[in-house]
């Protein structure tokens, strides 16, 4: 018959711990951690690395986190620090030549909407099946099996198609 389940509990407001008197840095940290993390995530693409790189960035920046520095200056400083940490990671882990590690050329990099703009730019010039496989895999998070089923191809074909699409998109040029 009728079963009314109790539904989801509304997410409670996050409790911000009261800061010690000398802890100006924490206010600065909390004001900047989300944009830094977002930026780092677009350059690492996974939570584990995004958390590590964000942590390292703030640990390094800790002595410089002061409330009397302007927001813009702090943002620029944190961005530069994050970029250094990212470049180290790409260099150490994937032996990427330093001059090929993505440079930030536009201030828009800090715009949270930016990732989406990039996607449109990237997908625009691709053949429909390439576009589709990238949408399913990256934007919808389908597994290879689910992707294969959605495209009506074998798992092996889906794997190959995904790699070709990604390489083709990459060859079109870096998103700006």
């Amino acid at each position: 018959m009728t079963d009314v389940s109790s539904g989801d509990v509304p997410a409670s407001l996050r409790v911000v711990p009261s800061t010690p008197p000398n802890a100006d840095w924490e206010t600065v940290y909390r004001a900047h951690v989300v944009p830094v993390y977002r930026y780092v995530y677009t350059r690492t693409g996974n939570r584990a690395d995004a958390e590590d790189v964000t942590s390292t960035t703030f640990m390094r920046a800790l002595p410089r986190l002061r409330a009397d520095v302007s927001d813009g200056e702090m943002r620029a400083y944190l961005r530069a620090t994050a970029r250094t940490v990212l470049a180290d990671m790409w260099h150490d882990r994937y032996r990427a030549p330093v001059d090929q590690i993505d440079e930030e050329t536009t201030p828009n990099a800090w715009n949270p909407e930016r990732a989406e703009v990039d996607v449109d730019y990237v997908l625009e010039g691709l053949p429909p099946n390439y576009r589709r496989v990238l949408e399913l895999r990256f934007l919808r998070g389908y597994s290879i099996k689910e992707t294969a089923a959605a495209l009506g191809v074998t798992v092996g074909n889906a794997k190959v198609l995904q790699l070709r699409a990604l390489r083709k998109a990459a060859a079109q040029g870096a998103p700006r």
């Binding site: 977002r38 919808r140 870096a174």
Partner: protein
């Protein structure tokens, strides 16, 4: 697949599982790897740090801990999969509702459809008193999985089955949206898919008709015999 193919595939797989990819020379695939990270970052919500992480890092900074060795354990998106599978199975059993949804899935840019059962009755699905302003309640009645919502004083109901793969959505009251635990779909409280990456052809959630009857909110649902 060649060795470089397998390596790039493993890299993509790690990203989608929110894990650190294994080390290895990027070679000619450097741009493709960077692009994969950007693409994966582009779905709504993925690039948001968790409250646990933010608080945990503040704590470590306070303790002056060095480096990120004591990383905060992170919730894995994959742990939702077992539950999501069940939800999908439950959705398949939801009779006529699923026909509608399946139809919706095959026409990607489909319009929002009301659920119109052929043999229907008004079934109580929530108590008016329990449905405060802004509240969202899940119900499960006569084979239909749904939400009853109080949006700005207006009571409405929606199917709770994601129009992508049939998983049961989770209400995010604070964010005023319905999230799919399986992939990255999110819906507004009127059932329309949220803009973002899912604008690529996701069908809106079917609307379920409701009425107030005394202390109860009743929904027009198929009769079960």
């Amino acid at each position: 697949m060649s060795r470089t193919d397998r390596r790039l595939h493993r890299y993509i797989d790690a990203l989608l599982k929110e894990r650190k990819p294994r080390p290895g020379e990027a070679g000619d695939d450097l741009r493709a790897m960077q692009l994969a990270a950007r693409l994966h970052a582009a779905h709504p919500g993925s690039a948001e740090p968790s409250a646990d992480f933010i608080d945990g890092l503040a704590r470590r900074m306070r303790q002056g801990e060095d480096d990120s060795a004591a990383a905060v354990p992170m919730p894995q998106r994959r742990r939702f999969l077992a539950a999501a599978g069940l939800a999908a199975a439950a959705g398949v059993g939801a009779g006529f509702g699923i026909d509608r949804l399946a139809e919706g899935r095959t026409s990607p840019s489909g319009q929002q459809q009301p659920l119109l059962p052929t043999e229907a009755g008004w079934i109580p699905v929530a108590r008016v008193a329990d449905l405060q302003l802004g509240q969202i309640q899940r119900f499960s009645a006569n084979g239909i999985e749904g939400f009853v919502l109080n949006v700005g004083g207006r009571i409405s109901a929606l199917s709770a089955v994601c129009t992508d793969q049939g998983c049961i959505l989770k209400a995010d009251t604070a964010g005023s949206r319905l999230n799919c635990p399986c992939h990255y779909a999110t819906f507004n409280l009127d059932g329309t898919p949220r803009t973002g990456t899912y604008k690529y052809g996701l069908t809106p959630l079917p609307v379920i008709q409701v009425r107030m009857n005394g202390a109860n909110v009743e929904a027009l649902l198929p009769q079960t015999t």
